[in-house]
Subunit: 253 residues, 2 copies
DNA sequence: CGCATGCTTGACTGAACTCAAAGTCCGTGG
DNA sequence: CCACGGACTTTGAGTTCAGTCAAGCATGCG
């Protein structure tokens, strides 16, 4: 059985890899080129230094492992090469708040730049492959400037906007509307990654979705069931099929 | 009657200036030094180019005026020198969502960097004075790098963390807890700006607070009244006095 | 096989929303 | 100066949506 994570692009639909661990483990600490980072981040600026043959360390994670811990000293940014993760914040009262579900092309760890330590918890939902952009290469000694820094900042501004959207998402009036909008956003993200926007498998639990949208897991479950019964989507555990994009979009109000 | 905005630091308590317009209007388009920007942003890095005598344009706004419009092409970042503002996003369904209330030292407009156009609406709640960091100076032509860019990105990473906190804030269990936490955060911000953390005047309406916390304005009003009756705070319109920080903190759960 | 985790569904409850009315403050214009 | 209008706020009463509690089922793992 092959691992879908490393399958050819654009399979029928995206499936998390956690349930299908690779039978032949690949050697750890493989490398990634600056070109690959640029592609993943969808950096639009032109590459100035075509001779930059720098290679970056990669970091493999198994589902459930922590990528970053809150309070850990900042040592760099990470680009998601493959897999899905969950970033969360521990509240004053001890409660956890899910901020986002980073996937391929997303940037991790930029919240750690300001205080030089990570302020969020990041855990892998599926087996993951991250590319590390070390702090010392990002912020080249004092005065000089490098292209990697530019790329990172461009990506950060993109992530900031996405976070604002997620923030706004959790302020919709009705719980069903939030869930519908969440599914639309996921659909769009899968499409951007080259997978089917109509059929995909969610990597996170109902509890995580609920926490992200500020509703309970039961409410998420009921919303899924409701949309299923109405024929808008088809739900089987974490497998989602959107039967009518238009109808789903109509629920976003 | 003098305008408290321009009074000496650390007055008894902070008051918005909108109700007390300066009797002697100052000439428009005054300048601000790089040093002032550095101080406002609390930039911790050392200043490399001490000879940088650049002056930045300032922009005065009256209460109610828009600082940035959604969709407007990106032309730079703005540092709040004085005053209070409101940043909001228009949802898919047309509803408005209040993201933050920027005040002295906060940075505006960084959501516009990615798509080269601003994605949020920014309106002045009081008379304001902003310092403009023009786009062409920020992103110096292609390859070279300047210190201003460094400062801007340092500030952005700080704003990102604050936004995450605001996001998490709107996920507290009870509405009263959200309001209590909101007051604590405001208190801390006033303290950081050199004003009293115990006595201050909120620059925004109940509706804005409610929108920010994802509750209705009536709920905010009821929470204020409740905390007032309990003797935790004293409320008179928008004037807030925190009678017991400990008691207020206890409501944050 | 048994246990843990995750998901679904139902019944009940309660916190927050909606609708409504009245009061307060402020700027404006007569 | 004062009266007016509008925006903001407070408070009350009724309603509803989503949270809580609980039971049962499916899945996957040791």
């Amino acid at each position: 059985m092959m691992n879908l994570q490393f399958a050819t692009p654009a399979p029928l639909h995206w499936t998390p890899s956690s349930r299908r661990p690779s039978p032949k483990p690949e050697r750890d600490g493989r490398l990634a080129s600056l070109q690959e980072v640029k592609t993943l981040l969808q950096y639009v600026g032109q590459v100035h230094d075509l001779n930059d043959m720098r290679q970056f360390q990669r970091r493999r994670l198994k589902a459930g492992q922590h990528a970053l811990h809150m309070g850990q000293p900042f040592d760099g940014l990470y680009v998601v090469r493959v897999g899905a993760l969950k970033t969360s914040m521990t509240q004053v009262d001890g409660g956890e708040h899910v901020l986002a579900f980073p996937m391929k092309g997303n940037l991790l760890g930029f919240d750690g730049m300001y205080k030089k330590q990570y302020l969020t918890e990041v855990v892998a939902l599926t087996d993951c492959d991250l590319i590390k952009l070390p702090a010392n290469e990002l912020f080249a000694h004092g005065w000089s400037c490098n292209e990697l820094e530019r790329m990172a900042y461009s990506a950060i501004s993109r992530e900031v906007v996405q976070e604002q959207m997620a923030y706004a998402l959790s302020h919709s009036a009705k719980s069903e509307a939030r869930v519908a909008r969440f599914l639309m956003i996921q659909s769009q993200r899968f499409a951007e990654m080259g997978y089917s926007p109509r059929r995909f498998t969610l990597p996170m639990t109902r509890r995580d979705i609920g926490n992200h949208l500020n509703v309970t897991l039961e409410t998420v479950s009921r919303a899924f069931s409701s949309l299923d019964h109405l024929g808008v989507i088809s739900v089987d555990r974490r497998e989602i099929e959107i039967l009518s994009m238009e109808a789903l979009h109509a629920f976003e109000s």
